[in-house]
Symmetry: C2
Subunit: 514 residues, 2 copies
């Protein structure tokens, strides 16, 4: 696509050479094609009639192949080479220097993956996702087994493009996460030591009732309330929208089109509300990236940091006492029959009820991490060949029995519950959730240190100060920095688990005898 790259790179030192503009233009084009594929995926999950599946699979596979061709265009490599001396002579923290560094990392990674793999992987993902949409409600693991076996094969094939890794999951996690399998295992070990006794102590106490959340809550009203609060938090519906899908997600089509989805259960008030605010947290991050940044750094960095932003709004804000001091009266006005006789205290306890349960996305803040650890360990077992796909349901149930003391009555509530393994991702999907939990507390702590008034603000339904700290310290930087650098700059220290454990201890001491 690009020829004679070097001819255009003569530049006065310090001023951006023409080759940089050409590189940015190529990168924007590749990003636009990826965004086009995202629109097709969003439609596939939201509105596409079932008849559309076959053609959509083909369309996505074509687009993924073209996007991959563009991102591995030898012209990018030539331009990067031509710009090497320019990059070495500017501030290494400057946008352009980071753009070039990240582009080189992405490029060197992308060129290792053959185009035909991308096409096969994309087609397999589409087929698997379509099958899962039917198999999950039916609890039909047998229908998913061939898809998952194929996904496992593809995941191994992918890892093999990056020989020399410490752990087979590392290439699947990708360099963007910046937290390796070894670091993850160490983190999970420390967390498990703190969590397990807390969960055990709580399990021995009288069970908190969440009956107030299990009444009939009409879908439309839940969506109205959740959306209004998301708007208060800062979600701008001229730059996004909210739709319904089987599994909630956030998706970016451009700097000013970042959409979220949710699901609604009429017999569970919490699912829709916290899903919307979780996804809104992801969207705030994407919408807050500096407009000065170009692809590929014009988007959030690392799954773990992304998840820290969603969990911060879902949990540290949305499940806090102060937040509900402000919003509970409004929720009662929306649902007077269901909630007028329920005290704020009862409601607050209900939304923070700890219980050893089956579904990750319904889990409380404490046990959530145990769900993640089960999945991470099973993924390691699958990828390392210690576990066959056919034995996965049994292994799943055994781990739930031993870690959480519960066994799913069917695969819908067990091994089929999460989309991740059935939409073409193995190895890179779950650990980021717990890394996100850990980082959410570290970021929130830093924000509170800088602006102690944030607590009172939230109790008054005001989010501007928190938003603005996050924008300055996290959002605006996009993918300029990896997780370790970003965390150090924003919080003044390395990634630390203590703020998260302190947060959990303080919060749950107020709810249970610990």
């Amino acid at each position: 696509m690009v020829t004679e790259a070097t001819a255009a790179t003569t530049s006065v030192l310090g001023s951006a050479p023409p080759a940089l503009d050409r590189l940015k233009s190529l990168l924007l084009e590749a990003s636009d094609l990826s965004s086009a594929a995202s629109v097709l995926r969003w439609d596939q999950s939201t509105f596409m009639p079932s008849g559309g599946a076959a053609a959509r699979g083909r369309q996505l596979s074509r687009l993924s192949e073209i996007a991959h061709q563009r991102s591995t265009d030898p012209g990018i490599g030539e331009l990067l080479d031509a710009l090497r001396s320019y990059a070495e002579n500017i501030d290494p923290m400057a946008d352009d220097a980071r753009l070039l560094a990240v582009t080189r990392r992405d490029f060197e990674r992308a060129v290792r993956i053959p185009a035909d793999f991308i096409a096969r992987d994309s087609a397999a993902s589409s087929a698997s996702y379509s099958a899962w949409v039917k198999a999950r409600p039916a609890g039909d693991f047998a229908a998913m087994r061939p898809h998952l076996e194929k996904t496992l094969d593809l995941s191994r094939e992918y890892a093999a493009f990056f020989p020399g890794y410490d752990h087979i999951i590392d290439p699947l996690i990708g360099p963007d996460e910046g937290v390796t399998a070894e670091e993850t295992k160490a983190l999970f070990k420390t967390l498990r030591v703190a969590l397990v006794p807390m969960v055990r102590t709580i399990a021995e106490q009288t069970e908190t009732s969440d009956a107030c959340l299990r009444k009939h809550y009409p879908s439309a009203q839940q969506l109205t309330f959740a959306t209004q609060v998301a708007r208060d938090m800062g979600y701008d519906l001229t730059r996004g929208r909210l739709d319904l899908t089987a599994h909630p997600f956030m998706i970016r089509f451009g700097a000013d089109d970042v959409r979220i989805t949710t699901r609604v259960r009429e017999d569970d008030l919490s699912d829709c509300l916290f899903s919307v605010w979780h996804e809104a947290g992801h969207a705030f991050y994407e919408l807050g990236v500096s407009r000065d940044l170009n692809p590929p750094i014009a988007g959030g960095t690392s799954p773990g940091v992304h998840e820290s932003q969603s969990r911060l709004w879902e949990n540290l804000v949305g499940r806090s006492r102060g937040f509900w001091e402000h919003y509970y009266p409004a929720l009662q006005r929306e649902f007077p029959d269901q909630l007028n006789s329920v005290s704020l205290d009862t409601f607050y306890r209900a939304i923070n009820k700890v219980s050893r349960s089956l579904i990750r996305t319904d889990a409380d803040e404490l046990t959530y991490n145990l769900h993640v650890m089960i999945r991470f360990d099973l993924e390691c077992d699958l990828l390392e060949g210690r576990l066959a796909v056919k034995d996965l349901p049994d292994a799943w149930n055994a781990r739930y029995q031993s870690d959480l003391g519960v066994v799913a009555p069917d695969h819908s509530n067990g091994v089929l519950q999460d989309v991740h393994w059935y939409a073409g991702t193995l190895g890179g999907g779950f650990q980021g959730y717990t890394i996100g939990n850990v980082l959410s507390a570290q970021f929130y702590n830093a924000a509170l240190r800088a602006h102690p008034e944030i607590t009172a603000d939230i109790a008054a339904g005001r989010f501007e100060t928190l938003h603005s700290w996050l924008k300055d310290n996290v959002y605006q930087h996009g993918r300029k920095f990896g997780v370790h650098d970003l965390v150090s700059q924003a919080t003044g220290s390395k990634m630390r688990i203590e703020p998260y454990i302190d947060y959990l201890r303080t919060k749950y001491s107020g709810l249970y005898a610990l």
Copy 2:
């Protein structure tokens, strides 16, 4: 993309050579990329937040450019050349022979259009459409003037890629229509001679009241009723869906994903109902194309034939007395307060009220054609340089005054009312509507000759026989045949205006003294 095409084309005479498979695979890929662009356009019109406009314009422009590159891939030309002797030795009416003939025609046409033109045209269309969505309600022609000037320039530039035309509109109409500017002018002249006296005679009579349609009809109920009837007609919601847009349209993403849109006015019952059935008619055509056909012949032929299918369901079925003998009781049950005191006769007269009015899409069957002729003539004037864009609103109003005796109070109801000129099409957009009207009667006549029971079927809410005749004689053939061949084969005669004029005379003699 394709090299050494000739190496693969040695074939046993009569059996499809490998080159044909390779050609079909390339054509399917090009079609998939066009469909991907269609998904982005559909989203742009239905659900995209306003912030998404800039990125969407870029994405569409990239995709259009790539789709154009694929459809002009020199490999297609090489394969066509290599397949020439194969094509000459098979039945010229066989699918493969027609595929090769249509592909060659498309290819020879497409290679004349430079890729940069496609990108500029697509970007200009996106920008113009986004501007029109705001300018139309505001009646702001000044905001659209630069866009329309650009569209006019681009239309002229496009026509200039095809030197030697008889009329500048001919290349813009395209070979697919198969009805040239000269043929169109002759057709319009004959029609005008029949229509103008009918409209004048009716205008002199006491005005029919359509007050029963102008009550308050809640949007959701209109959509429910319109959708249910569309399903009865045969629209399968697992192979399509219905959404809301400023301007109704049908769009195809694949053989089993053909969507329609409508708009709803709560103070006008007819807009939503007839728009839905109109667009459903277009969708039936696309959904009925034989699965044996490959792109580029796996879709409806010619705008005029397409419109004949929509108008047939909208008017010849949907505005017929028999249809409402069956459906009016159901409509009354949906809207008892509004319609229980309104007789079927009053309702039938209301939906067929002839009046000289401002809005094409609201126009009755008779005056509709006068709206089309105004636009066609103005387009000729613009393209031939007899009319400047700045003078278009005055010219528009003058023609409405002289032809229909009405002048729009604002540009929203005047020159800005239709999307066509503001979404990047000049010259090829309107005349197909009247050609469609003419053909709708010719096809319907032929269906009635073959199956006289269709009239009674419709009065009993049964559409299978009509549907099945249309599928056999029109839908299944896709783009295998052009308009003239298709019409001859389906109806046993050339395109004729008499069935349409007879239909109008018979129907309107029952409603007015003619």
